[in-house]
């Protein structure tokens, strides 16, 4: 098993002392027919080796756009990055040349997409698509690439890999396809994997298997993992810390268990309350009122204020910065932050 991905190991980077990835004040906007949509409005986060960051949010919250900006796969135009830095091992990806950037993609930072069926090329065999990683980045021969592909498929526990390497994506089940996506991301042993809703398209039973596999491989290779999801249930077991996004901003960050135990932002609170729970059987399920904001016209002040049960005048006027959150007794809570003027009150409610 340990020899599985040895081919890539020679290029493996030395451990980096600081955070592997640091996103600083990132802004992304899209030109649309109706104006400029502000998809990401000043996002900050860091991921270190071996760490899992879960980014949580509804569709349109900017979580995926941030990931695509990191990968450098946004279509520009219509997308534009007016401001911000994305530091990978201390180097700003946004200032790199095209070729330099390409070498990082797939090799150092890899991405797993949601819908493996449409994300894999329908007319090329999975072996070809896996092998491409070695051929493009390592100059491997055809035969070598095929051998590596079989090893990779074994590694993600696809049965009868040798026989199936020439099959096409549509011939695999949803779970197996997602394993192939994972194998592809893992091929060159990157430092960092971004998984964008990796299990959303799968059946619940398969979801757990795929998630476990991902977590296991991440631990084994000591990679950083950014897990993008809208599903609170998925993150609880695997994430170390969580960033909750709303309207292109991070509204709350916290170590995973603290967030569940005591949310410090009304939006997070609303999300947690809207999970069905067995002990509340028979009661009406809580739902956050209103709709996600229009990205062309984000409300002034805190973007969540029209939907917030706690909104005051200040929320309509001033954009709250990410306040440091301390525990109820005043002791500092490292890693916790909330972009709510009333984080203390929200915390006390719990």
């Amino acid at each position: 098993m340990t020899t599985a991905v040895e081919f890539g190991r020679s290029e493996r980077q030395e451990p980096y002392p600081g955070p592997l990835l640091e996103v600083r004040d990132l802004h992304v906007e899209f030109k649309t027919r109706d104006g400029v949509a502000k998809a990401v409005n000043g996002v900050n986060y860091t991921v270190s080796a071996g760490e899992t960051l879960a980014v949580l949010g509804e569709s349109g919250s900017g979580k995926s756009v941030t990931a695509q900006a990191i990968m450098g796969i946004l279509d520009m135009p219509p997308a534009r990055i007016p401001q911000g830095e994305i530091l990978y091992r201390g180097q700003d990806l946004l200032k790199m040349g095209r070729e330099e950037r390409r070498r990082i993609r797939g090799q150092r930072i890899a991405m797993i997409f949601q819908d493996a069926l449409s994300s894999l090329n329908p007319v090329l065999s999975v072996g070809h698509q896996l092998g491409e990683m070695f051929r493009a980045h390592r100059g491997a021969s055809r035969a070598e690439a095929k051998a590596r592909s079989i090893e990779l498929m074994d590694r993600v526990r696809i049965p009868a890999a040798k026989d199936r390497v020439s099959d096409y994506p549509h011939q695999f089940s949803g779970g197996m396809r997602q394993r192939i996506m994972i194998a592809m991301a893992l091929a060159l042993e990157p430092d960092l994997i971004i998984a964008d809703e990796p299990t959303t398209a799968l059946d619940v039973t398969v979801q757990a298997q795929v998630m476990d596999l991902l977590a296991e491989l991440q631990a084994e290779y000591h990679m950083g993992l950014i897990l993008i999801t809208h599903d609170l249930g998925v993150v609880a077991d695997v994430a170390d810390k969580i960033a909750v996004m709303y309207a292109g901003r991070i509204v709350e960050t916290a170590p995973v268990h603290e967030l569940y135990a005591s949310p410090a932002h009304p939006y997070t609170r609303g999300l947690l309350d809207s999970i069905p729970r067995l002990d509340q059987k028979g009661q009406e399920l809580y739902a956050i009122k209103g709709l996600p904001p229009n990205l062309l016209r984000i409300p002034p002040g805190c973007a969540f204020n029209p939907r917030c049960p706690r909104a005051q005048e200040i929320c309509r006027q001033e954009v709250p910065r990410l306040f440091d959150v301390t525990a109820a007794d005043g002791t500092p809570a490292p890693g916790r932050g909330s972009a709510c003027f009333f984080w203390k009150e929200t915390l006390d409610d719990a």
């Binding site: 899209f30 995926s64 949601q114 449409s118």
Partner: protein, 332 residues
Amino acid sequence: MPDVHDENDPKPLPPPGSGHLDYVGNQGLLVEQDTLIEPDPAKREEARSLWGDAWRDLRRQPIFILSALLIVLLVIIAIFPGLFTNANPRQANLAKDFLRPPDWTDFFGAGWWGYDGQGRSVYARVLYGARASITVGICVTLAVTVLGGLAGMAAGFFGGWVDSVLSRVIDIFFGIPLLLGCLVLLNAFTTRTVWTVVLALAVLGWTQIARVMRGAVITVKQADYVVAGKALGAGTNRLMFRHILPNALAPVIVVATIALGGYITAEATLSFLGIGLQDPTISWGVDISSAQKVIRQAPYVLFFPAAALSVTVLAFIMMGDAVRDALDPKLR
């Protein structure tokens, strides 16, 4: 596109509504945002309907505006050619006007674009020739849309043996090239008018729309809202005309608009070959054919009807293109 075969249809149709709406893909993202943008309920209503959206889109498209204006102008010329000239297109003065070159100062006059080999005003003949082209184009399109539309709808909606029989009939007509079939058919008539030509083109040309309609109905039939309608006990007529037809119409309209230009070309080609329109009907195709003999001495006799024909076809094709782009959300 090639032949579309009933149950063997090899082209996988995407399930309805499978546009990449939910996750971020290059363009998928914009679609995703479109659904989030537009908080104002009144405006959202407009944006959510395919037709409303398409219309909003079309009004801003210069290509659409240009082609619409051209078509309006052509239709006016076709109905009232006399508005644009006093000259008589059939008046021939061989002695005086044989191949008299254009007189560029004679605006809107008989001699503006010169005279043809029989001493007739080219300008007047081009204007009066519009009627045949436009009539054939519009009437054939209407006829094939009704004929093909009904056949395709029946085949797609009822399926089973109805579909098998209709599909074979469609295949049979499809197997005979349109132009060739029309030549054979029209050759049987010694006197041919606009209506003979319309008949021939419609009888042999309805299959294209039938295939498109059949495909569209089958796709729509599998859509969740139609299944839901059925489950709720909606009757056959109601299902067909309230739920399926409006949603299957978009591709039919697109194909019909583009085909209209094709029918105009077909009429001109038949007339050019001498098996289409004949005197006294004035046809660009016939005029282009007779201009062939004098192309060396008087190229303008060929140029003007040819240009008129091309511009007319162009107008309808541009219109079809614009409508397709507007109705096909995939291409946004």
